[in-house]
């Protein structure tokens, strides 16, 4: 292993590039004996480029010793080293789980949280023991991170535990995490637990309302559509995108009839200079009732809006209304064709034509 010795000696070189190459070469040797040399250099190395190269080398070296080395680094005082150790362990994937299990049993709350940070990007069925422990952890941050991971992984087997956490008198951030996780898991039965926890959406503070809206968007039906629609004129402007997203998502599941108050609010939103994406959403919601003459006329007028996203939304909505199987509007095609002749934006043109 003379080359390893040679490379390790280059760590004392004043030239940063040579030190980067030394770390890189040790990584490509892919020998467990290289790990101690890398770990020894790390705390005294001040160049971020060399540090980066040392972590890349740890990723390249196979076997337990590189994993153990990275696990040790999770306890570093230096946040950058901790974060890079998390990255190395993510790359090691399922092989790191037995080592992480040990940390989960014996480590302090910060280490336990870092274990879950690692697992956030590791898809493995072997992490069950860690998640069982994490969901009962004393530290709310550990529980929240576990719930977030499980939601992202759509771990349906944990749905009951997450619903229980939602219904318990939990930390508000944990409640929000549970809502997001149940949304990720996507079982319609979770709606009942959500509604038990929050029987009235209108009474929720903003930060919980945003998460609840995502959940009812994914799982809600006619009752939720009406309730969400009532929020639109009364809640803050910053919540409008979430409210409109929920309406767009719920509608196809229940197809409620037009409500005059909602139509008026939506039209005002399109006209009142809200952010373009919000106006686009409002136009798309209006499109659900494009079979109404008034709504259709409004959407046609939107095709001349100076705002490109409003025109795009109107074009998509009106095109939907002309699709076979939906309520046909025989006069609409020529209107869209005429508009297409005046439109210069390529994507709006595509939407008008599709």
């Amino acid at each position: 292993m003379s080359s390893l010795k040679e490379y390790a000696e280059k760590f004392d070189c004043g030239d940063e590039t040579e030190r980067v190459y030394a770390a890189e070469d040790i990584g490509y040797l892919n020998a467990p004996e290289g790990v101690p040399a890398l770990l020894e250099r790390l705390p005294q190395e001040c160049s971020p480029a060399v540090r980066d190269a040392i972590f890349q080398a740890l990723i390249r070296i196979d076997g337990d010793i590189a994993i153990e080395g990275a696990v040790q680094l999770l306890a570093s005082e230096d946040p950058q080293i901790r974060n890079q150790a998390v990255d190395v362990l993510r790359r090691k994937g399922a092989q790191a789980i037995p080592f992480l299990n040990t940390v989960m049993r014996a480590g302090d709350k910060d280490l336990r949280k870092l274990v879950l940070d690692v697992l956030s990007e590791v898809q493995s069925g072997d992490a069950g023991e860690i998640y069982q422990a994490a969901l009962s952890d004393q530290d709310p941050n550990v529980v929240i991170t576990a719930v977030e991971n499980l939601g992202r992984m759509r771990a349906a087997e944990y749905r009951g535990r997450i619903e229980d956490l939602l219904l318990s008198d939990a930390h508000p951030m944990l409640v929000a995490a549970c809502l997001e996780a149940l949304l990720g898991i996507g079982n319609p039965a979770s709606l009942e637990a959500i509604r038990r926890r929050f029987p009235e959406l209108g009474a929720l503070p903003d930060f919980l309302l945003a998460s609840s809206l995502k959940a009812v968007a994914a799982l809600g039906s006619e009752r939720e559509f009406a309730e969400v629609a009532r929020l639109l004129p009364v809640r803050g402007r910053h919540l409008r995108p979430a409210i409109l997203s929920a309406l767009l998502a719920i509608y196809p599941r229940c197809r409620p009839g037009a409500d005059a108050d909602l139509l008026a609010v939506l039209q005002a939103l399109v006209e009142n200079g809200d952010p373009p994406l919000c106006r686009y959403q409002a136009v798309r919601v209006l499109g659900f009732w494009a079979d109404s003459d008034d709504v259709c006329a409004f959407l046609v007028s939107c095709l001349s809006s100076p705002e490109r996203l409003v025109r795009l939304g109107a074009a998509e909505s009106l095109r939907m209304a002309t699709r076979p199987g939906l309520d046909p509007r025989p006069g609409l095609d020529p209107v869209l064709e005429a508009r297409a002749r005046e439109e210069s934006d390529e994507e709006v043109l595509q939407a008008l034509g599709s």
């Binding site: 590039t17 980067v20 190459y21 890189e24 490509y28 160049s47 971020p48 480029a49 980066d52 190269a53 890349q56 990723i59 950058q80 790359r91 898809q123 992202r152 992984m153 759509r154 996507g186 995502k214 968007a217 994914a218 995108p241 979430a242 409109l244 997203s245 767009l248 998502a249 196809p252 373009p276 994406l277 686009y280 959403q281 490109r308 996203l309 795009l312 994507e347 709006v348 595509q350 939407a351």
Partner: protein, 277 residues
Amino acid sequence: MPELSVDQFQTLSQVIYQKLGLHFDEKKIYFLKTRVAKRMAALRMDDPREYLFLLTYADPQGREMQALANLVTTNETYMFREYDQLQAFANHCLPEVLSDKQARGERTLRIWCAGCSSGEEPYTLAMILQEVFPQAQNWDCEIAATDIDENMLRKVATARYGHRSVAEVPDEYRNKYLVEEGNEYVVRRRTTALVTPFHLNLHDRMAMRAMRGFDFIFCRNVLIYFDDLSRKAVVDHFYNALNRGGYVFLGHSESIGRVTTAFKLKRFETHLVYVKE
């Protein structure tokens, strides 16, 4: 089939940014929606949620992200592409580097176009260099134009381009640096003389180590086709290949900050550039 909703679009934009470094703002909602619909049809998926889950958590090799990348990026290359970035180079970075060199009594300038394709970019840089620094002819200036594809390198060597390649060249440059020959434009000899095309595989570790002493590296819209580990390895090589005070330019919407912490971010008016301090 449900279409991509606004919040799904926002999630997708974040995922694409994290994985490819490409930024798609809200103006691109229709663009992304139509590309995702194509991918979903190819995969026989009918729910965008499923597609987002696939991209985010069930694509460890990055194959689907690569398939999407092929739809959302363009291989088209032309002279003076991403003009804003070139302005930052011409108006701020280049004068700064040249003035530091002059102060040190140096008379060399080295630029590397990594993944130069058919050569539009290195010739653009050669034109800019001659325009903003006429003294270049008295310096030892070199623009190394490298690519893995020998066919592309042959095109660089011929320095002949069709109308599409030169459409964005400002008139004052076109008259000075290009000659019209039939349906083509040929780069003038004094400009081609600055450019040295040669073969280089960005994955070849030892060949990359030979690339040293550059003041600028341009590698625009190339790394998006690499996986995370290779992208990081290449950017680390760029760091080693640059002189202190040298700049690296990736594609307009690509970010280096999420790949390495070694470079420093620097602002010139509205432009953000990465420098090796």
